[in-house]
Subunit: 408 residues, 2 copies
Amino acid sequence: MGTIKHLACGLCERTFSPGQLHNLCSCGGSLFARYDFAAIRQTWNKGDLATDRRCDMWRYGPVLPADSQEAVTLTEGWTPQFTAWALGFELKAGNLWIKDDGRNPTDSFKARGMSTAVTLAKKLGARKLAVASAGNAAGALAAYSAAAGLQAYIFMPKDVPQGNFLECKAFGAHVTLVDGLISDCGKIVAERKEREGWFDVSTLKEPYRIEGKKTMGYEIAEQLGWTLPDAILYPCGGGVGLIGMWKAFAELAELGWIGSKRPKMIAVQAEGCQPIVDAFQREEPSSRMWPDAHTLASGLRVPKPLGDVHVLRAVRESGGTAIAVSDGEMMDGVELLGRNEGIFAAPEGGAAVAGLRRLLENGFLKRDEHILLYNTGSGLKYLEAFSARYRRQREGEQDKLGGLITPR
Amino acid sequence: MGTIKHLACGLCERTFSPGQLHNLCSCGGSLFARYDFAAIRQTWNKGDLATDRRCDMWRYGPVLPADSQEAVTLTEGWTPQFTAWALGFELKAGNLWIKDDGRNPTDSFKARGMSTAVTLAKKLGARKLAVASAGNAAGALAAYSAAAGLQAYIFMPKDVPQGNFLECKAFGAHVTLVDGLISDCGKIVAERKEREGWFDVSTLKEPYRIEGKKTMGYEIAEQLGWTLPDAILYPCGGGVGLIGMWKAFAELAELGWIGSKRPKMIAVQAEGCQPIVDAFQREEPSSRMWPDAHTLASGLRVPKPLGDVHVLRAVRESGGTAIAVSDGEMMDGVELLGRNEGIFAAPEGGAAVAGLRRLLENGFLKRDEHILLYNTGSGLKYLEAFSARYRRQREGEQDKLGGLITPR
């Protein structure tokens, strides 16, 4: 556990020992790991990374909560970050980049956080892990629990994408579908966990998922030669990726590896579930439960993010903004990304594209700024959503030919 | 194009210039790239790779048909290869490894070949690329064509998995569903390509897909410290991955980087479509068209592989074998891999697990041999197959609770 000094509550700053399992602070705040960067600076520098061939997020071992040798890993992170010339040309953005976290194990960014969370949960003695999830966190927990030899107890909305349901089953997890939203799933886990002996690894309810997520920020900086973009558009459901990147940038400054420049952090939400946008516009520090939350981007269907305070703080401190886009715009965004760049993104990734288009049009973003779109997952996990857009029998070349081709 | 000496027909050895587009030899044979390894040895060695941080297959640029700077790439290859302790324990195999090509762009090994094929097709002037595909090659062609700014014309069986259909549409490809098998799709491409101006990139009908596929063999060797396993179980539809690995091992020997040891190359097929197994057992040099081909592993539904001669040669020269498993065994194999290792494999990957179980039981493989299972794709591309196994409403914890949980 190397250089973690302590865990600190993000609200009341009360501290906790990292050597045992923790969920929330008694004040309700999430716990965050604090490291001894003075010590880390003595033994680890940018030059070490320049010659490190490790192609996953555990290359950042000295600022992660476990040694890489003891990691429960499926080779997560170190995902591609590349210039999107063709998409930029179409959107008239001259310096556009994409980071594609659909290339993680279980095809989503959730793998990063579950790698660290399951590593620490196992190390600290947990045997049964439970999660309330909109889908992708569940798939990731199921995969890492299988790799670790632990039991996973999954609670997801009953209309979760089939890909999430099936991967959890294939990983041997215990799956319960709930007639409600992720917030309802969270209540069930909270009620039952003590009796069942579950350790709750739901978003921000334990301190280590965000430690994996923060590697998104380390990778952005390292892959750009220790510079940062002018703006990052991030599809915001629970928002932990955004919080994690913001934590990473602060840590990188403490390491002395980057300067004071920060990207404008832009939270993109769905019109049918936009608690962060609402709070941002009201100039309130936290969000209100969004009523009747609905969007086909299941990862954005989080009516009251537990980390709302931290998301809003990062958005505001960075000079960023929060914006909501429609489901139709998201799907258009996926298609733009697909046919221009060869990336089949989740609707959440499409939301980032749609948000970019809006913010270029209204002038919030300049066309020559270095802009990064963060894609959080693969479209392969949302086949229902795409099936409605691309009809199998009613569209495509076969129709021009009068139906299916029957060869002679 | 560096060090390619020429292209050579795999049947009659007639040679062709690499500087223009080619499909099959006039004798019907596939063309293969031949390099000047004496020249390559002068400028490139294992030590160069040991310090090369490139995390994709283009790290092998000197033995690929284009410079890495001109590659049409989505960061393919350099996929994880790891020991499968838990699965090995369950199957009583003491030195079991997995290489997971589900971690490629478009979630399958087909990305490797399409990266090289599309790179060369674009460079040599093609603008419209056509393919007959069981599904995954189509998705990969669509992605790389989008990345390259080329048009893709896709012909797939009408019952291709929905994931393949949708990704092709999202990449903006022209998709035609055919009431037949991949062999019927191939006939349509062959008939129409001249009139339409398509370049046919179907399996082994152009020389460069296999150049990408051969990196599977380079990676196996490099990731194992320039040794090779005792046996490789490979799910064999068209079989090009197996041919590619065999080519790679020969090239590595020419480079002087490995010795004379070769793995037993084991082709695993489906009981409902086993032309290679059939030819292997009959001791014939090529396969016969398998009648009424059927299996839920759509990638294994290739009734008469164009490269059958090369597959059978590699299997025999290596002292390997060919074996068929049932669809049920494959799905059991996927589940074994999922709950033991946290990998959600395609049914094809499950077939390799099932083949291993059989060959351990009949003594063909020894329990202390170094055995590598090759997983060619992700289970996320086969949701229909898994939906039949894992019923959404009829299985799982919710049933114990009398149906869906409705929170208060």
